[in-house]
Symmetry: C2
Subunit: 619 residues, 2 copies
């Protein structure tokens, strides 16, 4: 075996250019990593496959700066789900109710599922990946890989094959990521088993679900006036029965007609058609050696009807991207990579476990009354059905993801025991995403969406709700003085090129690992920039006024402080992880305690020890 030369060394080899592979490739390419990305298909998905982008995934798209490119394709927007059941006379079907995709209790800017076929999603990613200098090689496949241990920097050796020429290329890499989909050859080579789960029986995130005496069907509106039908085909006990071979388009159409009776359906043309068994399962491990990882369908298989596969894949990739970045950039210790499997596998399990509870509950005997609305139903907080329905909506929308307390997610009772990690009024939960809020950016008076102000740049987000300037001035000065000390989380991880920083560096003027925002409980005209400590003023595009009214709290003066639960007298700090999930909340107090608490938080995984009370650093 020849020693690979420098050109053949990569930070990561990504196999598969579906949702998981593409999102990971985009992040790591943008953050300067050398990515070898292959896919065994000659071209992106032409039609069909996954197509529902959940509200939270839309947020992620926007945070990646690619939402507008996607919406140019004018996806259909599913705001509501209609449920149909057999009519009481048994002769047809009747609509028993409609439910919002994202009811009012979920605070999101995108209370709908965007329906757009996977090929367009892939195209948007591919265009952006190209801009970052990474090429997706097609049609290429992975032949084999092993962790040779020969080269501690690039421990993996991977053989890749061009499927057109059959030429095999051997490369060395730090990481290998399988985004190959359900039939992952990497998973198979690792010998990781899929734990089968009972198939999904109920369905969310769709436009219209119909159960009739003839079977059940799901109808999803699509872009360009198309409609997708998921039609239940009766199974057979014949061991040789293979619906993928025997079920034809006319078969499916016939069943659809029966289910929809007495309504009629006709086809102008069939755009796409596929027969699949409903299977669900989760890989027992997402990695064995923290060098080769699985993501997306390679480690969890969902019923396509659940509309979860593509969205789960995005979350997997985003979760993995920033963690591998923190390790490879030298910020965090290698063991944090274990949190990828811990966090993402639990979400996959919760999702499947939840489905069966939901399905049982939503049986005919529990079906909603005719005319029931989400408003009337949700009003009854104590009802089991309501609780389950609410959870369903959270899963459907992508806001159900709650990562448990761990090294990144510090609840108020974290062992660090600092009382500053507890702010009783706060309405944020570590491990969940931030609530959206709208504020005015001081530098240019733009009205902006705070939760979107920091892009997916691999940095932690230090969001300082600064309260009223007159009340918190000393606390902010102390905060600034303390983060400038040599041992602080910020000072220990300064940029190498600090001296030559451009004024136009909006997000990372001091450190590539932190972006700081300051939001005052004040009218924008009352904020005097000159009184803001200089180290915070370096984040000139991240100083905001909380002066934009919010319809959800229409009577309140400082809507963002109020919605997130910060008292305008005291303020407080949210640390969000690079994926936007809350890491911890910390009180903003005078003295060094606030920065001490942040040092404790980041010190838990920083490669460099963070100490307080050191002399001032170069900031």
């Amino acid at each position: 075996m020849s020693m690979a030369n420098f050109e053949n060394r990569y930070d990561i080899v990504i196999v598969g250019a579906g949702p998981a592979g593409l999102l990971l490739s985009l992040c790591l390419s943008r953050w300067g990593y050398k990515v070898r990305h292959i896919d065994n298909r000659p071209l992106p998905t032409a039609t069909g496959r996954a197509d529902g982008i959940q509200p939270r995934s839309i947020e992620i798209f926007r945070n990646l700066g690619i939402k507008r490119q996607l919406f140019v394709y004018q996806p259909a927007r599913v705001y509501n789900v209609a449920f149909w059941y057999p009519s009481t006379d048994g002769k047809g079907i009747r609509r028993v109710g409609t439910w919002p995709t994202c009811p009012q209790f979920i605070d999101t800017r995108y209370p709908f599922t965007a329906i757009i076929h996977q090929g367009k999603v892939e195209t948007v990613f591919l265009d952006e990946i190209k801009k970052s200098g990474t090429t997706v090689y097609r049609p290429w496949t992975i032949v084999r890989f092993h962790n040779t241990g020969e080269d501690s920097a690039y421990p993996l050796e991977v053989e890749l094959k061009n499927l057109n020429t059959n030429v095999v290329e051997t490369v060395r890499t730090k990481y290998l990521f399988s985004a190959e989909g359900a039939r992952s050859s990497i998973r198979e080579q690792l010998g990781i088993k899929i734990q089968q789960k009972s198939p999904i029986t109920f369905v969310w995130s769709t436009k219209c679900t119909i159960r009739s005496n003839g079977g059940s069907i799901m109808i999803i509106p699509r872009e360009e006036n198309m409609v997708r039908l998921y039609v239940q085909i009766a199974s057979s006990t014949d061991p040789d029965w293979n619906p993928r071979r025997s079920v034809t388009i006319p078969d499916v159409q016939r069943v659809a007609r029966e289910i929809l009776h007495p309504f009629k359906i006709e086809w102008d043309r069939v755009e796409w058609y596929s027969v699949y068994p409903i299977e669900q399962g989760i890989a027992e491990k997402y990695t064995l050696d923290h060098r080769v990882f699985l993501g997306g369908d390679a480690c969890h298989i969902h019923s396509p009807k659940a509309g979860q596969g593509m969205n789960m894949a995005f979350h997997d990739a985003l979760n993995f991207a920033w963690k591998v970045h923190l390790v490879e950039s030298g910020f965090a210790k290698r063991p944090i990579l274990a949190s990828y499997e811990a966090e993402r596998k639990e979400v996959a399990e919760n999702l499947l476990g939840f489905d069966s509870r939901y399905a049982t509950l939503f049986s005919n005997s529990h079906q909603p009354n005719e005319g029931a609305t989400s408003t009337t139903v949700v009003a009854d907080e104590e009802n089991d059905f309501v609780k389950t329905f609410k959870s369903a909506c959270e899963f459907t929308s992508g806001y159900g993801v709650l990562y448990k307390p761990n090294i990144f997610n510090w609840s108020p009772d974290h062992p660090a025991k600092s009382p500053l990690f507890s702010i009783p009024s706060v309405k944020l939960t570590p491990g969940r995403t931030l609530t959206p809020s709208t504020v005015t950016r001081i530098s240019d008076a733009n009205v902006v969406h705070l939760e979107q102000e920091i892009p997916v740049n691999g940095s932690f987000r230090i969001i300082i709700f600064a309260g009223m300037p007159s009340r918190t001035r000393k606390a902010l000065e102390d905060f600034s003085a303390n983060i400038k000390k040599n041992g602080s989380f910020l000072s220990k991880h300064l940029r190498d090129d600090l001296a030559s920083m451009s004024y136009f560096e909006r997000h990372n003027p001091h450190s590539k690992f932190f972006t700081i925002c300051v939001i005052y409980a004040s009218d924008k005209n009352s904020i005097d920039i000159k009184t803001i400590p200089r180290v915070l003023r370096d984040y000139h595009h991240h100083i905001y006024a909380d002066d934009v009214p919010d319809i959800r709290v229409a009577q309140v003066k400082y809507a963002a402080h109020h919605k997130l639960g910060f008292n305008p007298e005291n303020g407080g700090i949210v640390v969000a992880r690079p994926d936007g999930h809350v890491g911890c909340c910390v009180q903003l107090v005078e003295g060094s305690a606030t920065v001490d608490a942040l040092n404790a938080y980041f010190g838990a995984f920083s490669t460099k020890p963070l100490q307080q009370n050191s002399p001032r650093c170069q900031l």
Copy 2:
């Protein structure tokens, strides 16, 4: 002169592919007209030139379905203007206040000016024009034209020349539109004079205006961290002085430094630079024969600093497009074309007239107090300054356009004298644009922006605020019965292909000239589609529920009805012109009176007489 063959016949020849020409070309191409479009530049604008898109123009872009394509370029957004004056000690400058581009009293979804260079705007239009089958020929120029009278259908003969090959082509056309810019050869050939106006002296719609003892300067933020400076260069009495030749980049930079003293400014690079005299003027006529028309800078020249040129051009073109469409499609009588000059020339004059009033008022003695805000100033309704300031904001934002009562704009005291044209509670003004409002579309539960629901399709918009279904059921039934009668505005202008209409025809199921919307004062779940008259149900994607809260009227139940001034008990109808300006408001009453009133309105310019009480038509 050879007779032009069929290939050489066009509905319109458009000369110039700047803002006016492009918008007109897009509309007419989409509506099926045969457009010959030329421009004498080999390529679109590479950099510089106009760059401020006003709030109302952003609405128009969205209504044309091209806003998202433009915003992909991430224009800078100017929400605020800062004013600087000489400091009291005479040694420098101080900021005396900031003012919103679009203060709270203007209800718009886009309270900012979008800054993007003209080349990108042109590119967006060109892409869409191409999709509609029209090509812009470059570099081509117009040699001469005349109204031969030989061919009544195509009365104009135009000679066009390819500037690469010098080949001259003679074409025949129904209309010729000069969008050539200030140096319009067509205007010159027509002998139309420009009436000079005093140059603009005050400036709006900008980020930052600075007047110092060294002169004045205006600073506009741009995309990609660029900034544009408008620097005042002192004039000379020397008759041979030609600043376009003698003023260099270092000259301008030196003056800028002096004005900004004691602040400092440095240039990394100069992207674009131009010297121009401040000139203003309006063409005496916009047309002589209603066949050859002028639009945009060809008929009104503004100081570039006013940020009005490009926006005025869009409005001109939109105003002209639907009128020529109504005439050429056979809907309206030819004399309505006179309203193009009448409406647009008055706006141009108002704008220039207003400028001098504003400049006088905003002299140093009237300058706002330090710390004054739009809120404190606007609160004083009686103050002349406030009134003028408010008008300024309306002009700045593009919402100042108010077309006077005429054949299309019927105020309550229109000679038709029907009491139904008066709805005392209504807050809309004929000739102005609609107030934005958000509603739920029943067909798919999408939350939508009502004022954007009907695209720029050349149709009148019949917007029925239907009030509470239980109260207005009879009135709606009567309305539907009456528009189905043979003599109604709708029945007289049915589509030829009515029998083969697709279900997917969202906007024009009956007539290419009308799109109907129905908005109920009701929760979406309480609307029973089956009770809606069938003729209205044909507009299945235009049935809405007024059930979305609005922060401007947070306590109100039916926000859209309330904001536009319709009592939810009675409802009422707005007729909007194809450009979105209100034509008239009509009471929704039982019996035939409502349709009678609409017949009177449309009958004023319809080529076909509209009568009531005829037998039922084919609808």
